[in-house]
């Protein structure tokens, strides 16, 4: 109960928090919120179902481009959003099926290559995606006739969606499916022997995770108003994976913490200028050696060390 109140207080505080910020600050917080949605999806795949996906940014991109194209075609945002999610879910199933049917770590290679392929499609298919020029002037979303144009309004809209996606995720994790995900991550052989269809569940976890990225992409497209292939490359997928691991994979609030790091570290490491990415890479290795459970495992780690 205490926990529930704390979470509710945090949710409300974050809703009102950016009111005092300038537009750039609001943009950063909204970006964080978008990353949290994509990160929750990836956490399902990586943290709860124990699979490595290196293509979350590809689904993010599919969601963003689907939304941009749908809005250009005159569809309302509330129609484009489910379209983006469903498309990502379907593509996730198609990609995951061959990889997961054989060997579960093939998913890492399949998603990595898939991300490269999606990037190529975004860059090469000018007629659909605008090629390297991308799509600009993406319409502001309208909700039942109300046009969301102020940055603060758009943040609050995004944040409500983030919380809603979080609630859906919590329900999924509490359902028997959530237990099956955890069981097959802990011990796939034992899971099969008690009738848990590990291939089915990992595939669904991956596809649901992809759908979350699609939703995040839809909000991202409206946030930036202009999309081009660059943000949807493999490097972003790696950042997203790092975000989940750094926060604490398999922990519900891991992505929220991790997204904060990924959004803020570039700001903090600004003094390091061009060394930023190199330091980032070393930090990953060091963290995997010392704290493989992520930041949220720190309290347990300290307690254990005593």
């Amino acid at each position: 109960m205490m926990r529930f109140l704390l979470i509710a207080a945090a949710v409300i505080a974050i809703y009102f928090l950016p009111a005092g910020l300038k537009n750039y600050g609001i943009y950063i917080v909204t970006l964080w919120s978008v990353y949290v949605i994509a990160g929750m999806g990836l956490n399902l795949t990586v943290g709860y179902a124990g699979q490595i996906s290196l293509g979350q940014a590809a689904f993010w991109g599919i969601g963003a481009y689907t939304t941009a194209i749908a809005l250009k075609a005159g569809l309302p945002f509330l129609a484009a959003l489910p379209l983006a999610a469903l498309l990502c879910f379907g593509v996730g199933l198609l990609l995951g099926f061959p990889a997961l049917r054989v060997q579960h770590h093939y998913l890492a290679f399949a998603t990595l290559g898939f991300n490269i392929l999606v990037y190529l499609v975004l860059r090469n298919e000018d007629w659909l995606t605008g090629g390297s020029f991308g799509i600009n002037n993406i319409a502001e979303p309208t909700l039942l006739g109300w046009r969301i144009s102020r940055p603060l309004d758009f943040f609050q809209f995004t944040w409500i969606a983030t919380v809603a996606m979080g609630v859906l995720m919590a329900l999924l994790l509490r359902s028997p499916w959530g237990r099956a995900f955890a069981a097959l991550r802990d011990n796939p052989i034992r899971a099969e022997s008690v009738g848990i269809d590990t291939t089915f569940y990992t595939l669904l976890a991956f596809a649901i995770g992809a759908a979350y990225a699609g939703v995040a992409g839809a909000f991202f497209a409206c946030l930036v108003g202009f999309i081009e292939p660059a943000p949807f490359g493999v490097n972003t997928s790696l950042s997203m994976l790092l975000m989940v691991i750094a926060g604490g994979s398999g922990r519900f609030f891991g992505p929220a913490i991790g997204a904060m790091i990924v959004v803020l570290i570039p700001e903090w490491l600004r003094f390091a200028a061009e060394w930023y990415l190199a330091i980032f890479g070393v930090m990953i290795v060091v963290m995997m050696v010392w704290l493989p459970g992520g930041i949220l495992s720190l309290p347990e780690r300290l307690r254990g060390a005593k």
Partner: protein, 292 residues
């Protein structure tokens, strides 16, 4: 027609290089369960080390290669095993994958800072002459690359199957516990696999850099292609890696020339998906046992 033949030959040469890298990847996976996502950087780094030995240190290419080989074996072989893999392997595969991804970023960016994002030319061990073969012109470097890389793959296979040490390495890969019971020093065999991987990567750098040119991110696609080549050809078979590599190299060239240069990089993925859909054990692989 002449074009076609040249595409095939140069594709085979690129593919043979994929195969070399793929082989190192396969060996590591089998010996220690390591999925090494820094594989591409383990080719990129020796390329720059060699450039250093040739440039500032002023060594001739063969000596520079020998020196690079030694450095690679120490840092990318033994050092990688001791500092990154050993402390992490007990946490399972995922942390190790992330760590090698981190290592890949760190290596790439460090090189970018030191050498900038510029492209460097790299001397070839082959002359630039062309061979005439029934009207078609083939480059000596393509043919030479195929011969050297193909020869190395086959030599490595002979080593694994024909020598006591090679057989011991295979035994450890298949069943470590049983191998230990038989008195094999498993730890040392795993170290050998890391050393062979580093050696193969350095050799790949020597062969591939004159064509790819030295750049901090040259390993990106190379590493990925190597994984695909390994899986397409068949994971438990070194000739499989050769076949997979050549298949990827040749098809990429053909797609790039006849279909769309924009999608050249997508060929390997589609081939990979096709193979795991219809022949999951790889083209030359044997179906593996389900294990307890």
């Amino acid at each position: 027609m002449t074009d076609f033949l040249q595409l095939i030959v140069s594709g085979t040469a690129t593919g043979a290089c994929y195969a070399l890298a793929a082989l190192g990847f396969t060996l590591l996976w089998q010996a220690s369960g390591t999925i090494n996502f820094a594989l591409g950087e383990m080719v990129m780094l020796p390329a720059f080390i060699m450039l250093f030995f040739i440039g500032p240190a002023g060594l001739p290419l063969p000596l520079a290669f020998a020196a690079t080989l030694v450095v690679s074996l120490i840092i990318l072989g033994a050092g990688f095993k001791r500092l990154v893999v050993d402390p992490m392997i007990r946490h399972g595969v995922i942390p190790l994958v992330i760590a090698t991804l981190g290592l890949s970023i760190a290596l790439k960016q460090t090189v970018r800072i030191v050498y900038s994002a510029q492209v460097y030319t790299f001397p070839s061990i082959f002359s630039e002459t062309l061979l005439s073969l029934g009207g078609a012109k083939l480059s000596v470097s393509d043919v030479g690359t195929v011969v050297i890389a193909g020869g190395l793959v086959l030599a490595l296979q002979a080593f694994l199957n024909g020598t006591l040490t090679g057989r011991a390495m295979q035994a450890v890969a298949q069943n470590r516990d049983a191998a230990v019971v038989l008195g094999i020093n498993a730890e040392r065999m795993v170290l050998y696999a890391f050393l062979v991987n580093a050696g193969l990567a350095a050799t790949t750098a020597l062969l591939v850099t004159p064509v790819y040119l030295a750049k901090f991110d040259m390993g990106d696609t190379l590493g990925l292609k190597a994984f695909y080549a390994a899986i397409i050809g068949g994971f438990n078979n070194s000739r499989g890696a050769l076949l997979g590599g050549i298949l990827v190299g040749v098809l990429e060239n053909l797609v790039g020339a006849y279909i769309s240069p924009g999608y050249k990089e997508g060929v390997a993925l589609l081939l990979f998906l096709g193979v795991i859909l219809f022949k999951p054990e790889g083209l030359l692989g044997k179906a593996e046992e389900r294990k307890v």
